[in-house]
Symmetry: C2
Subunit: 361 residues, 2 copies
Amino acid sequence: MASFLLPDRCALSPMAEAVAARTLPPLRRAHSYGFQPPVAIPCRPLGLAAARSIASHSSTLSAVAPETTAKVIDGKLVSNQIKDEVTAEIARMKNAIGIVPGLAVILVGSRKDSQTYVRNKKKACEVVGINSYEVNLPEDITEEEVVKHIASFNDDSAVHGILVQLPLPRHMKEENILNAVNIGKDVDGFHPLNIGCLAMQGRDPLFVPCTPKGCMELLHRYDIEIKGKRAVVIGRSNIVGMPVALLLQKENATVSMVHSYTKNPEEVTSQADIVISAAGVANLVRGSWIKPGAVVIDVGINPVDDAETPRGYRLVGDVCYEEACKVASAITPVPGGVGPMTIAMLLSNTLGSAKRIHNFN
Amino acid sequence: MASFLLPDRCALSPMAEAVAARTLPPLRRAHSYGFQPPVAIPCRPLGLAAARSIASHSSTLSAVAPETTAKVIDGKLVSNQIKDEVTAEIARMKNAIGIVPGLAVILVGSRKDSQTYVRNKKKACEVVGINSYEVNLPEDITEEEVVKHIASFNDDSAVHGILVQLPLPRHMKEENILNAVNIGKDVDGFHPLNIGCLAMQGRDPLFVPCTPKGCMELLHRYDIEIKGKRAVVIGRSNIVGMPVALLLQKENATVSMVHSYTKNPEEVTSQADIVISAAGVANLVRGSWIKPGAVVIDVGINPVDDAETPRGYRLVGDVCYEEACKVASAITPVPGGVGPMTIAMLLSNTLGSAKRIHNFN
């Protein structure tokens, strides 16, 4: 698949193919099946549209579809709520102290996927009333030049959040670039000082990374209890798996991490009341991995071939939705689950930063 | 019990008494039993002396005592090996570049336990050839004054490691004091930037906290495989539980954390191939919690009343040694297990710091 299909900033640490090979039956390609949603097709996510169509037959969000039992956790809906809240807060701050939050995005090179994500972020900023600043730099620019641009945004009082679009060109060391971002404007929350504060009891990071924060927000807004629950996080990337495990632990879940060296991922996962999968492997998590009644948050956005779609592929999660939704009590669809939450959290972090910098409550 | 009995820097986040109350039979006080080691007495650790006496009947460290199966992991022995190695390296560095590592310890107030620990560290420095610098400050000194002393050590080229003895007087904010230590001299490894790098893949902290590093060193020196094993860490303090979980994960164990909100600590723990307990609750971990053949590292050093000892108390671990040693394949005794490793790792970190600062390999 073309690389531009990878999810925004979701360069997840790859759950080694070996794991998939050990634990998975061969991927069922869509073109092996006639796709007639919402008729059940093994390991084919219903997608949000189908789930909504099902939900529309019921009066509440917890609508139960034929052959499904799980409540659909609607990330699109929640992200829109959050954007509305952010919009209102930005208006209130502007009226009260005349400050408008600003987000600077630095894009190096001309990857199509990165350009798309940057464009989407810019649009989202416009919608909620955040000023966005964009710098596009050529692929062959030096690390030092990128750092200069970051330093300039660090000093710019109109900028409250700085985001360097990843991945960077190979000749750059990501660590050197990300460390240059002023920790007070690190709206991505990737600085090790932020991660350290996330890990430590009694400390709070200035920013929580956007996708993990989005997962927690979904759990909170759907009133899913975390304290005392067993949680399993699949995948341990710096940007999703590891920080979301730390967040679950901060809220007093009993957390286990499953990764490519885990010998019995199914057994470990099946003990969890809450499963958050951020492995980046299509259909890794089968129905048999899910404890009946568990809550499933699927961070994966994986392209699989589908000759029947106009683009020749469709996006599926890490979780075999069709199987899992019969076992879980609640589940996020892909797309329409965690995906829309990432940008919503970025907007929220940028607002939070402006509030902190200007001491506005 | 008097507070000076608490272990050095082991102000572990208390595993809530509720857990103990839920899961433990009443503590069996020593004075309820006639203590005749090595005769088996429920939940009474043999102690290193008894274990050694047993081991002396066999030709190897893996000696099997009557009624025990576990290899005794001898922290005293390993810590002495490490001290010998540090001594040799310090001599080599001094000969080669004329540099002697220096460790500065700041003690605020006059707690008897803290004075003892500082004295022990000073002695250990002398033994291996590290120059030690000590500042004793009155209990009622201000935070600013302590920070000034730290700043002075930060600037002192003869000092390669700075350690602020904890706990600090109540009027000080630990965070403000510890953050003042130059990260390049933070031999305790408690700075959030160090913890963040510990948590992140692809990053390495400048220093690994001493007790967690000591636990890992014991596993390494006893050739205990970590990769792919299930590990359970009991307790999630900033200074032991959380960092040791991150270290186990960095070495590709499948890690679960058990803490005061864990509903079924026995069930979770009994799935582990490696158990590291740092809860600070005497005899919390019973034999039934241990999977047959598991490796048990007991970080707890808990005083329990014992009228038959000259001091009226004895030290026991978190693990009911006498039960666990019949189930585990290897276990650390208390005392004589993890305890001696902490200072050994502090010396090793100070040497490592001097080598890095002077670019000596």
